[in-house]
Every structure is written in C-alpha cells, then in structure tokens.
C-alpha cells in the first residue's frame, strides 16, 4: 500500500519529480492543445487535469493538506484498505478526500490512494508524518480559518504560469531566430493570453510583458526599430533622471568615477574633464565640491560636456553648463564649461574638445562606449576611431562604466536569453528599492533598453552591452592599461549602497574594478584606465 505525500503535489508541476516516470513534459512546439484540454506538464507525470481547472485543483490541494495536517481524525485509518480512489483524475480525487476530511470527525472514511500503474512510489511520508502530526485541533473553527487562507495558493499557481511564460518566451525567440514567424506569432498570442492570468504588476509577469512587447515589435515592425530610438532628447533626459533617482546604479557610477578622477588629479592645478554624455550634469556637483575641499585648494576646472543637439533651439548643454558654473562659483572653484553637440559619439573630433597641452585630462564615459560597437563594414570601426583619439589626448585617467552583460552576441537566441536574465534581475532590484512614483519612469527607461536589445538590428541597435572581461581585452588592445580603483572608492560605494533601504545590493571588487550587483549577480561595472605611453604620444605627458 502506497501513499503519496500530498504536499509535493500541491504546487508546481515539479510534482513529477516524485515519480520516476520516464516521460518528460512534452516539447512545447508540439503543444497544439487548447485551454479546454488536459494540461501537458501534469500529463507527463501521469495526472489528468484540465488546464482550465488547474487553479481550482491547486487550491483544493492546499486545503487538503491543511485539513490533513489539522484533522482531528486518526489518520492511521487511511492506511487500511477500503475504498480506492484513482488519483490520476486529480480533480475528483481531491474533491472526494476533502469532503471526507472536512466532515465532522465521527465518520472518517477509510480509503487508500491507488497509484497509477506506470509510476513507482514515493515516500512513505504518512507513516513518518503521523507521530509528528501537530496538535490535533478538536476545534472545527480553526480548520475553517485555515481553509480560508487560500490566498497562499495563488503564488504557487503564479510561479507555474511564470515558468511557463519563460519557456514560451524562449520558444518564441527560437522561432524568430529560425525565421519561422508564423509559429512565433502564435506563440506570441499564447503568451499574451497567459499574461492576463499572471500578475503583471511585479515579478516575472512585468518583465515578461516588456519582452513580449519587444518581440512583437520585432516580428511585426521589423528590425528598423524606428520608434524605439525616436525618443526626444528631453524625454531621454527625463527618463535618465528618474532612473538615477530610483536605483543606485547611476549614483554608484558617478561616485566611483568621481573618486577615481579626484585621485588622479591629485597635485594638478589645471584639469580638464571630458564627459561623453552630459545629460543633466548630475555627476559633476560632487566632483566640484570635492575639488573645492581638497587639501591644497581647488584647481582650475574645465568641463567639456558632449550631448545630443537640442531640437528646438534651446541650448540645453549651455544651460547645464551655466548651472554648474553657478555652483562652482558658490564654492569658489574656478570653472569653465564647453558644450559639444553631437548626435553620435563617433562624430566628435578631438579638435572640438580644445584640449590644452598643459592640462591634465580625464575622460568619463558612463554607458556610452557600447554604442560604438555596431560595426559597419564600409567604415572604420567607430570604437577604434574613438579609442585612438582618446589615446592621442593622453588622458591622466579614463573612467569607463558599462552594463555587465553580454548583449552583443551575434546569435539572437543567446542575446535574448542573456537579456531576459539580466533585466529580470534588474527589475527585481528595482522592485525592492523604493516606493517613489519615479519608479514607473525608471522602468520605462529600462524598457527602452530591452526593446533596443531585442527588436533592433544593425545600426539601430545601440545597446550592445559587453561584459567587463571583453572590455578589458578591447581596451588593453587599444593601448590602455588598467588603473586600480582603490579602497576609498570601494568604501564609498559600500556606504552609498548601505544608504539604499533595499538590502540585496552588493559591491564587489574584481581585479581593480568595482561591480555593483543584485544578490551577487553583477549588473554594472566601473573601471579606470590610463593610456600606455609610448614615444609617439601627441602631447607631452
């Protein structure tokens, strides 16, 4: 006589692990089943349950477990051999058990569960569970109360749908890679149906929603990705600002880079910082203040900010420069600003920066270098062009902060998988972070990145993230050597993270570079570099 531990059954389809059934869940491509029919995963485990009834059955299994654990009846009666209920028809089996257990204790039915023939069993969980049964409640009202806690079933159900969503996303991506757009379209429809049953406010549902949007954009609008990159500069700045406030990634980037620049400028009186993406200039107030307070007094600071041209005649670069100048004046730092408007970084030429030979230069690139990795066979690789003119400036330090992800692989499915993991982690971290209204706009910022990674190709795809190891190879090959970021930067980063009320962020040191991650998955990496000096440097060291 063989009994099942109902706890393993009441949950996700990992219930199949309790049997040594050799059938795997049927491959998704062959799932032609509609929702009225039998659920495929459980069928692989030997249980026949209608897909439409899954939620109800799961709830009842939970109730059954609670009822069995709290039942005043002596469960040893279950061990005797009276009535057979076939558990492969899971819905009716559960119903019958429940009706028997929730009746008053005077009539405990005796029954046994008959294993489906093609399965071997499991644990004699009941024989061990019996002496460990928790306090027997004669009070039926407790049982009623525990039966009311059915909300706990919902997450188990959701987890199941979440796993299914992920599987379907991978299937769809694989179809797209193969070029089978008709199957991809039907997958997309299935997923959109599944989305309605999943909580899309948080968790896997939300991330999946964004990926489904990106996939449908790719399938139906092609890979030009017009509207994705078409956001106005104003919108981009706004989203960037909210992303800055909602989570610590950009703050970490700014503070770490500033610390490295501050240390590199120690002892120099004439310094020039080139910022590859000025935005609102939020990085620079802290540097200006730190320079103002450095022992020995502040240097003459020049800042050159590169940014996209403003469409409506407003000179946003100049406005930011004026604000920074006002701040510098308040703290008595001699300051000069210059704005360079360029829609692409590779269009900037070194003469535009007007670097003075006597000053020390720092180049600061926060998530900009990866945009140059799109290779056009007709032109020189933009990354090499830019790196070579950076090198010709002979900067004292070049700070590079990049996303720690491999989103530039040639194969679409690999890229998609990597992006799914990366952005799920990032959304998780955002979830735990804050209760601000800014969170929604920060999510839109991330969503745009997702859309670009997934639905664009060629020159339209600018979010070509590469991991730190690849950047190391690339920069070393271009004539740069790494500078270690130092313990002050690490200390500052740790303190900064402790300030964020979410616990889960971790700063790690990786061979002189710092990475910030969520639960030990690094998401953003900061590093510092210096040009290797050789005899052909354009400017004297």
């Amino acid at each position: 006589m063989v009994l099942y531990d109902s706890a393993t059954l009441g949950g996700s389809c990992s219930g199949s692990s309790s049997s040594s059934s050799s059938s795997k869940p049927p491959p998704l491509q062959q799932r032609q089943q509609t929702q009225q029919d039998i659920d495929g995963f459980l069928a692989g485990a030997g249980y026949r349950v209608r897909s439409s009834e899954l939620r109800k059955v799961a709830q009842r299994l939970e109730r059954l477990e609670t009822a069995m654990v709290n039942s005043p009846a002596d469960l040893s009666q279950l061990a005797s051999d009276t009535i057979h209920y076939n558990p492969s028809d899971l819905a009716s089996w559960v119903d019958s058990l429940l009706s028997e257990l929730t009746q008053p204790p005077t009539c405990p039915s005796e029954f046994i569960m008959d294993p489906v023939s093609n399965q071997t069993v499991v644990s004699d969980a009941w024989t061990t569970a019996e002496p460990h049964m928790p306090q027997v409640h004669q009070n039926i009202s407790y049982e009623q109360q525990s039966l009311n806690n059915q909300l706990t079933v919902v997450p188990a159900m959701e987890e199941d749908s979440g796993i299914r969503l992920v599987h379907m996303l991978m299937t769809c991506a694989e179809c797209v890679q193969r070029g089978d757009f008709s199957l991809a379209t039907s997958c997309l429809e299935d997923m959109q149906g599944l989305l309605t049953r999943v909580n899309t406010v948080c968790g896997i549902g939300k991330v999946a929603g964004h990926f489904i949007d990106a996939l449908s954009r790719r399938i139906f609008q092609g890979i030009g990705g017009g509207s994705v990159n078409g956001g106005s500069a104003y919108e981009n700045e706004l989203l960037y600002h909210h992303f800055y406030e909602a989570c610590p990634y950009l703050k970490f980037a700014h503070f770490t880079a500033n610390q490295a620049i501050l240390e590199a400028f120690d002892g120099h009186d004439c310094v020039h910082v080139v910022d590859f993406n000025l935005m609102h200039g939020l990085q620079w107030p802290a540097l200006i203040q730190a320079l103002a307070l450095r022992p020995g007094g502040p240097p003459l600071l020049r800042l050159t900010g590169i940014g996209p041209p403003s469409p409506d005649g407003r000179d946003s670069l100049r406005e930011i420069g004026l604000r920074l100048a006002e701040l510098a004046r308040s703290v008595n730092v001699r300051f000069a600003f210059r704005g360079v408007a360029a829609s692409r970084l590779e269009d900037v030429k070194p003469w535009m920066l007007q670097v003075n030979p006597k000053e020390s230069v720092a180049v600061n690139s926060i998530m900009q270098l990866h945009r140059l990795l799109g290779s056009d066979p007709n032109r020189n690789s933009p990354i090499e062009t830019v790196l070579s003119w950076i090198r010709s400036l002979n900067p004292k330090i070049m700070t590079v902060v990049e996303q720690e992800a491999n989103h530039n692989q040639p194969g679409f499915l690999d890229r998609f998988t990597e992006a799914l993991h990366y952005y799920s982690t990032m959304f998780d971290s955002l979830e735990a972070c804050t209760v601000q209204p800014n969170k929604a706009l920060a999510e839109i910022y991330i969503q745009r990145e997702i859309a670009n990674v997934v639905s664009c190709e060629g020159s339209a795809r600018v979010e070509r993230h590469e991991p730190l190891s690849k950047w190391r190879t690339r920069l070393s090959g271009a004539g740069f050597r790494p500078l270690h970021l130092g313990s002050n930067a690490y200390k500052q980063a740790s303190m900064l993270l402790t300030l964020f009320s979410a616990e889960g962020y971790s700063v790690e040191e990786n061979d002189g570079c710092l990475t910030l991650g969520w639960h030990s998955r690094p998401l953003i990496a900061a590093s510092a570099w210096q040009a290797v000096s050789d005899g052909t440097a354009d400017f004297p060291a």
Partner: protein, 159 residues
C-alpha cells in the same frame, strides 16, 4: 561684580538666603549655547520649540555645525564656506547627515565617521545643484528640477 560681592557678604555673614537672586537660564545666553551645543539633533529641534529665545539660538548655524562634525576630528576651515554656500549646516544635517548616520548606524565602523560626513557633503551638493535649477527662468527646466536626489534617504512610507 558688586552684586557678587554682596552675595558673598551675605554668605560669610551667615545671613538668610531670601534675597539670593534666582537663576534664569535665559539670562545667560552663553551658558545656554554651551548646553545646546551638546544636544543631539532631535533634542535640538525640541529645544527650538521651547520659547522664542531658544528658537533664535537654535537656528544658529554653528550649533548644527557642531552636530555634523561632532564625531569627526576638526575639519579644515574651507569646509565651512562651502557648506554655507550650499545652504548651511542645519540643512546639511537634517537633509543628509542625520539620515546617512542613522542608516549607516547598523553597520558602522569606527573609521567611517569622516567618510560619512564626506558622503553627506557630496549628496548635499547634488541636492543644491538640483535646487539651483528652479532659479532658471526657462519653464521646462523648472519642471524637472524638483530636488529629489535625496529622496532615497527619506524613510519609505508603508501605506
């Protein structure tokens, strides 16, 4: 001086103490300041609600300066001009130093006191910069310049 002399005469003379003047702390502002300098932030705010004199004194930025640098070895003199330019010590304390200290208190190490203040100063500076945006006459900049870079230091409200 005459008053003291008279008092001594009374005491040495063993006279009754009925004419001995009572001590009002508000008459001795310097002592009051010495005492207030040693309070913590919350007590200082409570003290500011006692009466108008205390309120005026508590607004004095040097009291807050003491609070900020209490656990730190004396900072260089240039810090003061910078902090005053960025909005003053009271603002620095209430906006940055206090939340930073309370959050870092969980994992504080002794060597962090100075770094805490430096970090607070940096955050304070970013906040000042955002507040600057409001003074710009351009309508669009005003909209996006509400100083919210310190929002993450505010306690999240559990609704």
């Amino acid at each position: 001086m005459v008053q003291n002399h008279r008092r001594e005469d009374h005491e040495t003379g063993g006279e009754n103490k009925e004419k001995r003047p009572k001590f009002f702390i508000n008459d001795h502002v310097d002592i009051l300041i010495e005492i207030l300098e040693r309070l913590d932030g919350r007590s200082l705010c409570i003290a500011a609600s006692v009466c108008r004199l205390w309120c005026t004194i508590a607004r004095n930025d040097s009291l807050w300066e003491n609070l900020c640098f209490r656990h730190v070895s004396p900072p260089p003199s240039s810090v003061r001009s910078v902090v005053l330019a960025l909005g003053g010590y009271k603002r620095l304390y209430t906006g940055c130093v206090r939340p930073v200290r309370s959050r870092l208190g969980r994992v504080r190490r002794a060597s962090w006191a100075r770094d805490e203040v430096q970090l607070s100063l940096s955050l304070f500076c970013v906040d000042y910069y955002e507040r600057l945006g409001g003074s710009n006459s351009n309508g669009r900049l005003v909209e996006k310049s509400s100083p919210s870079s310190l929002m993450f230091l505010c306690k999240p409200v559990n609704v």
